[in-house]
Amino acid sequence: MDYAIDVKEQETVVRLRGRLTFNDHAKLRALIREMLQNKAKRQVLDLSALEFVDSAGIGMLLIAREEMSNADKQLVLRAAAGQVKRVLTVAQLNKIVTIED
């Protein structure tokens, strides 16, 4: 998985690309650190270019949500498609995280 961060005044948009699986633990740690460091309250993960996510990837997104919440920030998952959208649905993540089309 790769990511690119676009920091704005009101929100930060992180565009994830590729596959998000248990092997991406180090990248997720780095990403969470960067999201905590910037000032924006809204931290948006743009998932439109993410091709595949597994259960550990879902778990790491939940860790990100929890860490943002502890820092008084909001995590938003945006524009999931295909397999990623389907897994978010099957795992019922909409009950826990803000999901936008």
Partner: protein
């Protein structure tokens, strides 16, 4: 009655020394594979068993295309007797892989097996995505929790993620864990695909109450996708059935 399986007709080596390949070819009575060779002509599909010397030797997608249908890694510490057992088991399945934990992870084995399945059965887009996820989750469980014996992420903190990260890297670098085997067997029926994934870990019992942290959703996802799942051999083997 035993259903008719593809006929394993030849042996192919990827990164296996010629001398060992010749010896194994004679021992298993499988001639070396010749591209474009005439089929054996009894109406069954001829398939080819691949002996894989190392993960790097099997990176190319064509290593997982037809007529290849079984992949057994000879590297690591596999004895000739264990290899013979694996070859025997491969003859009872339509697709078969027996590789180290490190190789299963490096090659992204679930995707390779899915490629081999879709070369033989038509899957609709969503069905393909679902089956890839189920295979990936089953193989990840075999790799991470089974063979590497790394516990899942407990709780929802970066500390849990760091612990997982550290343990995973440490175990993957230890040959005593990383050389443990993952076995995948696939049976292709007219109306269903059955897949078994086995590891060499200490087993697993599905808890009655799952305390969800960042981990623990894999088996639930598999159960949501597959028509039927069974945990066998003390939890070291999972059997999944997918209707077509």
């Amino acid at each position: 009655m035993v259903p008719s399986r593809p006929h394993v007709a030849a042996l192919h080596g990827l990164g296996v020394p010629a001398e060992r390949l010749d010896r194994l070819s004679a021992a298993f009575r499988l001639p070396p594979w010749r591209p474009g060779a005439a089929p054996s002509g009894d109406g069954r599909e001829d398939s080819v068993l691949v002996l894989v010397g190392s993960a790097d030797a099997a990176e190319a997608p064509e290593c997982w295309a037809r007529p290849f249908a079984a992949w057994i890694e000879t590297g690591g510490i596999l004895s000739d007797a264990d290899l013979a057992n694996a070859v025997e088991r491969s003859r009872r399945a339509d697709l078969y892989a027996f590789v180290t934990t490190a190789t299963a992870n490096q090659l992204h084995l679930a995707g390779r097996i899915l490629q081999a399945i879709t070369a033989r059965r038509t899957l609709a887009g969503a069905q393909r995505d679902d089956m890839e996820l189920a295979l990936h989750e089953a193989i990840s469980n075999a790799v991470v929790h089974g063979n590497l014996q790394v516990e899942g992420m407990k709780g929802l903190s970066v500390a849990a993620l760091e612990r997982f990260s550290h343990d995973l890297a440490e175990r993957m670098a230890d040959p005593a864990y990383a050389n443990r085997r993952v076995e995948v067997a696939v049976w292709l029926e007219a109306d269903a695909v059955t897949v078994e994934v086995a590891d060499e870990g200490s087993g697993f019992a599905r808890p009655e109450h799952i305390d969800y942290g960042a981990s623990g959703r894999g088996l639930d996802l598999i159960a949501a996708i597959a028509e039927e799942i069974q945990l066998l051999d003390g939890g070291r083997r999972i059997r999944m059935r997918f209707p077509l």
